[in-house]
Amino acid sequence: MTGVCAQSFIMNKENKENKENKENKEFDITVPGNKIALGHLHPLTQTKKRVEEIFQTMGFSIVEGPDMETEWYNFDALNIPKNHPARDLWDTFYLKNGLLLRTHTSPVQIRYLEKNNLPLRIIVPGNVFRREATNASHEFQLFQIEGLMVDKKISVANLKAIVGEFFRRFFEKDVKFRLKPDYFPFTEPSFDIGISCLVCRERGCPACKGSGWMEVAGAGMVHPNVFKNSGLIPKDWQGWAFGFGLERLTMLKYKINDIRLFRSGDLKFLQQF
């Protein structure tokens, strides 16, 4: 084999003098190029990296927490008491070892606030689990990214600035966004963050169900009880938090129409990225 290869690579005298002209004439440049096999990073890895970069440039550290959580961190500490109807907002997988699969990345807010000095800026990427039926837009395992900023005077106006900056950089477009009232027990006030539909530019289309807007994230000002449950004095600190599903953002960015593709392991999907 080595010999064969060597012959075709090395120019001998004959090549140089006699064949050159003839070969050039017969050479078919329309033969398709050789297919080069490549590796592929998962689309969620790629968008996660982008999200992390954007927030790191704004001084946010990346922090992680466990997938298996206690009821305290996942619910009680986040101002969601037992037997409270608010718990119904999260369909939860419980484990036989007494823990549960976290339904959001918010428990890391408490874990981090407990152990670190303020002020702080963090984002928290990680798996979350919801015991829900799956379809093209619902999954029971999702990748969420949580953001938390706490300082002496952090306001809703600041949240708007950071979130707006993030969307503009992530979508590389002048994306409009808006806050609507929402309810999360661990933030007050609470918002639903929508962005202008990337498909129709607010004109209304099937992708945004005609509204011109797409919901992408939940956010709000950190609830005083969250500070209290983290061992802090609420009146000393202000902060905001947000959380979004990375799948949703990735779907919008690459126009993916079925959320189940991400964990399908289908190479025909994965090798497009």
Binding site: L41, H42, D67, L95, Q141, V156, N158
Partner: protein, 700 residues
């Protein structure tokens, strides 16, 4: 919950915005309107009322208050004044006995006599239907109507069917039963709160009424109940009986106990108007601990600080008053706010600030970048090395997959894992996802199974074109399936661990080994060893592997993972038709060895020379032993730059029990050009060293 646009409009003298417009206004300042649907002359608004506002806004009146605050339109409270008959006293008809005070903070009763039970008027039926309720008769319909309007569930009993003129609120006894008005029977126990007469249960409190005491066309005297029940008890009962009703939904979210009186009066007003009944004087009202309004001191500076915008004080006051908060100015910067008791959700300043901001309009808050100290972000090494490792594997032409963190019992068994080491889900969504994955490999192999047809399709198409064998081979090679995942695995009792695993199809043990070498060296790790995987010690796990093609990966003697060929048994269970090599690395251990340090190795200016050596050894000898022998010589002389195995051969022309290794040996010195004598001398030393071993023979 669904609301009738026409009904909402009836509270206002001025015209409301058009349904779509109203929906948008409410969505931006109150709660999401999921749908607006035309229903004959009316429109239905489907409003996603959040749990925080369920106590006052699962009612048309609640929504009306919101609309009034947002649009600044005036509305009228519904009429609730009626004429009572002085001679009849509600209290004299039945006695009420509350056996558990905590479960029933308030119980209110009104008696209506001489009612005429018949179908409701059209307008009433229409409103119920629009809101998804079925009209039954005028009395029941009015009770439901009052609930949809005020948010207070009401219940009507037929007085003549109540035994012993007694109403008792108590926990059910085990074994008691009730048949509800929809003909369904329920077995009760001490967790369920009931309304009973002298003999037996007549209603499941706050959830559903019983059949026997229900209103029918012969009913003459009505006992109208408007009560307040503890939310936790109703929630528990409703879950236990698996019975969700409009009443239960409202009670389990909590309702203002002061509402019972207004709601019962409103219902009486309607009964008098519609069914001409005579209403007894006064209320039978058991309400030992009256709910009083809370007071919150609001700091206007804090409002500005939290929102990042200055809202004029006048505006703040006007918004709060429109929402029925009562205000008292304390001083320039402080407001004392009295919270109406129906706003169970308001208990902190922050709650009031949300009220102010959402009505004022979130869109009016302009983005402002925070002014904070320049604290640089902390580098997260775990994430950094995770990114590096993924990039390296991508460069090695692996594709990354994300699998679910779950496996089925079958998967667990297939891989010989001990079930008691697994973490089981208490409430799995399907049997496919019953355990947390103890390894990334089962799901990765399933990925292979799913994708292997891709491989075979290509194989088939290209086999047809026989003339293009070379091309076929080439394409086949590019269709090898190479995938990896970096994710968490879980082990009983409570361990979770980040792991990196990969799978490659084909007879590719050495290729995968090469990938591991590449990965580790790019992560700055040297001193890698591969040791025989002691399958016997591993017990059950051994049946995963196809011995002897499996090895432990060690760094500085510490095991960090393994690689090996998956056993034919496992593959055939999974219907995988390709040989498959797997690697599995404890990523948390690995990260401890990773390093970004690198030192440049000077490139020798003197030429190198290559001499080949072929050595015949007994079959059981491993290449490592030969290499060690050569390297031992290198240590003495310092002239050998590299030793490169290029062929392993056994078979024809070689004795049966032997095999042949062939190496390139590269000679180079740092400080001079080596003479051919020097090279020959060194080479001879190697030959001699190798031949010292019995049964080893250097072929000349």
């Amino acid at each position: 919950m669904v609301f009738s646009y026409g009904w909402l409009q009836s509270f206002f003298q001025k015209k409301l915005p058009k349904p779509e417009k109203l929906a948008e206004v409410l969505t931006m300042s109150f709660a999401e309107i999921e749908k607006v649907k035309k229903e004959r002359e009316d429109f239905v608004l489907d409003i996603d009322v959040k749990p925080s506002r369920a106590s006052d806004c699962l009612s048309h009146l609640g929504i009306v208050r919101e609309i009034a605050a947002i649009t600044k339109l005036q509305y009228k409270e519904p009429l609730s004044k009626f004429k009572a008959v002085k001679e009849l006293k509600s209290k004299n008809f039945v006695s009420v006995d509350i056996r558990c005070q905590q479960a029933c903070p308030r119980y209110t009763i009104k008696i209506i006599v001489d009612v005429k039970v018949c179908p409701s008027p059209k307008w009433l039926k229409h409103r119920l239907k629009v809101c998804g309720l079925k009209p039954i008769n005028n009395i029941v319909d009015i009770a439901n109507y009052a609930m949809l309007e005020t948010g207070q569930p009401l219940h009507a009993f037929d007085f003549d069917k109540i035994k012993g003129r007694k109403i008792i609120v108590r926990k059910a006894k085990k074994g008691e039963e009730i048949t509800t008005f929809d003909e369904k029977s329920y077995c009760l126990d001490q967790d369920i709160l009931i309304i009973a007469d002298a003999k037996k249960p007549i209603a499941i409190a706050g959830i559903k009424g019983g059949k026997e005491t229900g209103i029918d066309k012969n009913t003459k005297t009505v006992v109208l109940e408007s009560a307040n029940f503890n939310q936790g008890i109703i929630r528990k009962g409703s879950r236990k009986l698996n019975l969700k009703t409009d009443a239960a939904t409202r009670f389990e979210q909590g309702i203002d106990p002061n509402l019972t009186e207004f709601a019962i009066n409103r219902a009486c007003y309607l009964i008098q108007k519609i069914s001409k009944g005579k209403i007894a004087h006064g209320l039978a009202d058991i309400y030992p601990k009256k709910a009083l309004p809370k007071r919150i001191r609001l700091d206007l500076d804090y409002v500005e600080r939290l929102l990042g915008i200055k809202i004029p004080e006048r505006e703040i006051k006007s918004i709060l008053e429109k929402l029925r908060f009562k205000l008292k100015t304390q001083n320039l910067k402080l407001l004392d706010v009295e919270i109406p008791t129906f706003r169970l959700d308001i208990s902190l300043q922050e709650d009031l600030i949300e009220e102010i901001a959402r009505i004022y309009g979130y869109e009016k808050i302009k983005p402002v970048f925070p002014i904070v100290s320049l604290i640089p972000f902390k580098r997260n090494l775990e994430i950094f090395w995770e990114g590096r490792a993924k990039d390296i594997l991508e460069q090695a032409r692996f594709s990354e997959v994300y699998n679910y963190s779950f496996i089925s019992k079958g998967d667990a068994k297939n891989f010989g894992g001990k079930i008691n080491k697994l973490i089981e889900i208490e409430n799995p969504s399907s049997i496919e996802h019953r355990y947390l994955r103890p390894s990334l490999i089962p799901n990765l192999l399933k990925n292979i199974q799913k994708n292997q047809k891709l491989y075979f399709e290509t194989f088939k198409t290209h086999r047809v074109l026989k003339s293009e064998t070379f091309k076929t081979l080439r394409i086949l090679k590019s269709k090898e399936i190479k995938i990896f995942e970096l994710g968490k695995i879980f082990q009983a009792p409570k361990l979770e661990k980040r792991t990196l695993s990969g799978v490659m199809t084909g007879d590719a043990f050495y290729q995968v080994k090469g990938v591991i070498d590449l990965l580790l060296s790019k992560l700055g790790i040297s001193n890698i060893q591969y040791c025989e995987h002691r399958t016997v010690e591993r017990g059950l796990k051994s049946c995963w592997w196809q011995p002897p093609k499996c090895a432990e990966i060690k760094i500085n003697g510490e095991q960090i993972g393994f690689l090996g060929e998956v056993s034919f048994r496992v593959l055939s269970d999974l219907k995988i038709e390709l040989k498959t090599i797997v690697f599995d690395i404890d990523f948390e251990k690995l990260v401890r060895f990773c390093s970004e340090e690198k030192t440049y190795q000077p490139i020798s200016r003197y030429p190198s020379a290559i001499r080949d050596i072929a050595v015949l050894v007994p079959k059981r000898i491993k290449v490592n032993e030969v290499l060690n022998k050569i390297n031992a010589v290198k240590g003495q002389r310092g002239l050998i730059k590299d030793v490169d195995l290029f062929d392993v051969y056994e078979g024809r022309n070689i004795p049966n029990n032997k095999k042949n290794f062939a190496f390139h040996i590269i000679y180079q010195a740092e400080n001079k050009t080596l003479s051919s004598k020097e090279i020959d001398d060194a080479h001879q030393k190697i030959v001699k060293a190798l031949e010292e071993r019995k049964g080893w023979e250097v072929r000349k």
